[in-house]
């Protein structure tokens, strides 16, 4: 008598497509984890979610003071709007790299006890980041109203640029999360990368003040181009299409290879924790 097999477990590789289907089936977990993290992070605080804007707001105040009063940078748009477009893009990116990169390590107990596609953990970080990002965007709108910056039709492109921001951040986050399980050193390296990275990224300065011979960097710097696109949307500054195409292709390749690497290593994650 042949019995119907409900499920089979064997060693070996699953294809990326099969894996992504599995993730899709449990997509509710992405929301579950994101909701959990938000609740936990802001539980028992008086300001709650408002805390998520304190950090970009502090950045805004410090950069505005320094680059308007101490070392004035001359740019055509109000500096506060200029720097805040940089800050929101950079913060979303770094929170994805930092949080998605460490999410497997921070959920070891769960990973050892319950089976689910592990990719939902870094993906859930994209969602928590998006909530915090949205609050910052509201703050940006307020800044634009205060400083009298006009809103433009270009805002329709915002979702696409946010998507580019997410993919750029996740490409780093997914690679790092899979790698940190094997190489714990990376856990310590991530904050350094983020700390120094802001100097290589036009967050508080415009690319126009960077000497021309260094401009090639931006062909390999997707975050710089994400920020450039935010500025294009909100302040109407020019963008370099060549830089965008090259750097975004690079980010996409990193993202895809990160997914492949993650899926390939997923079966060893529990072994190494």
């Amino acid at each position: 008598m042949e019995q119907r097999i409900y499920k089979t477990i064997r060693g070996g590789q699953v294809s990326l497509l099969t894996y992504l289907k599995e993730v899709w089936q449990v997509r509710h977990l992405i929301i579950t984890f994101a909701a959990r993290d938000l609740k936990v992070q802001y539980a028992q605080t008086y300001l709650g979610l408002l805390w998520s804007v304190i950090q970009p707001l502090t950045g805004l105040i410090i950069f505005s003071f320094f680059f308007q009063r101490v070392i004035p940078l001359h740019i055509s748009t109000p500096y506060s709007v200029f720097v805040f477009t940089g800050i929101i893009g950079w913060f979303y990116f770094t929170s994805l790299v930092g949080q998605a990169g460490t999410v497997l390590m921070n959920n070891q107990q769960l990973i050892k006890k319950i089976q689910f596609p592990r990719l939902v953990l870094p993906l859930s970080k994209a969602l928590t980041g998006l909530i915090e990002f949205s609050i910052s965007i509201l703050l940006l709108f307020a800044l634009m109203l205060i400083t009298g910056c006009p809103f433009s039709w270009r805002i329709l492109f915002l979702p696409l640029v946010v998507l580019a921001n997410v993919i750029t951040g996740l490409s780093g986050g997914i690679w790092l999360s899979a790698l940190t399980v094997r190489f714990r050193d990376l856990h310590h390296i991530i904050p350094y990368l983020i700390g120094f990275g802001i100097w290589l990224t036009p967050v508080f300065y415009p690319t126009t003040i960077v000497p021309h011979e260094f401009n090639f960097i931006y062909y390999f710097h997707p975050v710089a181009n994400v920020i450039a696109l935010y500025r294009w949307i909100f302040t109407g500054t020019d963008v370099n299409l060549g830089q965008i195409i090259v750097s975004f292709s690079l980010a996409f390749v990193l993202f895809l290879s990160g997914l492949v690497f993650f899926v390939k290593n997923e079966k060893f994650i529990a072994d190494h924790l």
Partner: protein
């Protein structure tokens, strides 16, 4: 042939153990440039394990720590992948490797119910349907909006367990969870498991406590070093268990008792040294020491200075449960002063008291109101009913006194 619930076919799993685990990048980079070969050795956590579990069966997996029980359950639940081999499930499995898995201390009881249940793949509608049942079962309704970090350990366990009881599946994979919590909670766990068995569900329960699962499981797998040593009934396994688990006993097969090595023991009390110990009068067959006859155990000590002391022997079964304690201390009195000299202390165990199983005898020295020293497993005994066959039915229980019983026709 009855229907199968799951089939484990030739499953192996090994881990690399590095002499110096190259957890850091530096070591991995250094390794590329160094001439030293990778010093990793393979540890076979599971070695060609095959088991068939029938539908409606409850199978126990027993073995000491590191025997491979947990690795097997992790593979069955999909948390780890086997290196080779295959597992077929003929029904929906659910694995309960931990009580309160996925709980977050900062979240409220209600939020944790939703979180934990969705990790077990409940849909939101399903959780809402089961929510009241879970809360009622847990008995923490008044605190359901409080963060679980403020719960007492007992409340926490009850809430976590009530989520598990609402899981619906055909095959339950359970790891050690029945050993947590207080006695009351354990009873509740066992009752729930018995209920599942009665419903005809298939169970796989891993434990290192043979007593616990011998009442729940009709077949038991004994694992050691990643291999299956034996599969059989609880009684059959009990015979091998003692051999396989030297932490509990070290025995040569066929020997009726074992004495701890003399160089391993110290009285722990300056004025007293232990000279000798063993069994005096007993009757043994191939199967062990007969419980049909009295058994006397003795310890000889030398006392160099007068000391206030009394002596005791604790009889424990292999799971560590104390069956009873024999003491030179008369009830209610205190230890008496014993003068300098050599003494022999004898304990006479009456017939028809010990059950047909293994006992470890711990020797205790008790001073003025406190235990000065406890020597674990000074003597270990294999007790039998005095017959030459092993296959007699062993009744559960740490002791086996003679209980008279009658069956009367009252019609």
């Amino acid at each position: 042939m009855s229907e199968l619930a799951l089939e484990i076919k030739n499953v192996s799993k090994s881990f690399q153990i590095h002499e110096n685990r190259a957890d850091s990048l530096k070591e991995n980079i250094a390794r590329v440039f160094s001439s030293k070969k990778n010093t990793a050795t393979l540890f076979h956590a599971l070695d060609n394990v095959s088991v068939k579990v029938k539908k409606g069966e409850s199978l126990g997996i027993i073995g000491r720590n590191g025997a491979g029980k947990s690795t097997l359950l992790r593979i069955l639940s999909g948390i780890m992948q086997p290196d080779t081999g295959e597992i077929n499930f003929y029904g929906k499995p659910v694995s309960i490797l931990d009580i309160g898995a996925g709980f977050h201390p900062e979240l409220s009881g209600r939020e944790n119910i939703f979180l934990s249940a969705s990790l077990y793949n409940f849909t939101k509608a399903k959780i809402e349907e089961k929510y009241q049942e879970i809360v009622d079962f847990s008995g923490v309704e008044n605190f359901i909006e409080e963060p679980v970090k403020n719960y007492s350990a007992g409340m926490y366990l009850r809430l976590a367990f009530s989520i598990i009881t609402c899981l619906e599946a055909d095959i339950y994979l359970i790891d050690e969870v029945i050993n947590v919590g207080d006695a009351n909670f354990q009873m509740k766990c066992k009752a729930k498991i018995e209920e599942l068995i009665a419903q005809g569900k298939t169970l796989l329960i891993a434990s290192h406590n043979l007593n616990e699962i011998s009442t729940l499981c009709n077949r038991i797998v004994l694992m050691e070093n990643g291999k299956i040593l034996d599969i059989g009934t609880s009684d059959a396994i009990q015979k091998y268990f003692t051999i396989a688990i030297p932490e509990y006993f070290s025995f040569d097969e066929g020997k009726a008792f074992h004495l701890k090595e003399k160089n391993e023991i110290h009285s722990g009390v300056e004025q007293i040294s232990i000279l000798n110990y063993g069994l005096k009068d007993y009757e043994a067959t191939f199967t062990g020491i007969s419980n049909q006859k009295p058994i006397s155990l003795f310890v000889e000590v030398e006392i160099t200075e007068p000391v206030k002391i009394s002596f005791g022997m604790q009889f424990c079964d292999i799971t560590g449960v104390v069956a009873f304690t024999a003491s030179t201390l008369a009830r209610g009195s205190v230890s008496e002063i014993i003068e300098k000299g050599k003494y022999q202390i004898t304990f006479l165990i009456p017939p028809h008291l010990l059950n047909e199983k293994m006992y470890a005898v711990n020797f205790t020295l008790v001073g003025e109101k406190k235990v000065l020293m406890k020597i674990d497993k000074l003597i270990t005994l294999k007790i039998s009913d005095g017959t030459e066959t092993i296959n007699a039915v062993v009744l559960p229980g740490v002791v086996k006194p003679i209980i008279n019983s009658v069956i009367e026709n009252i019609a």
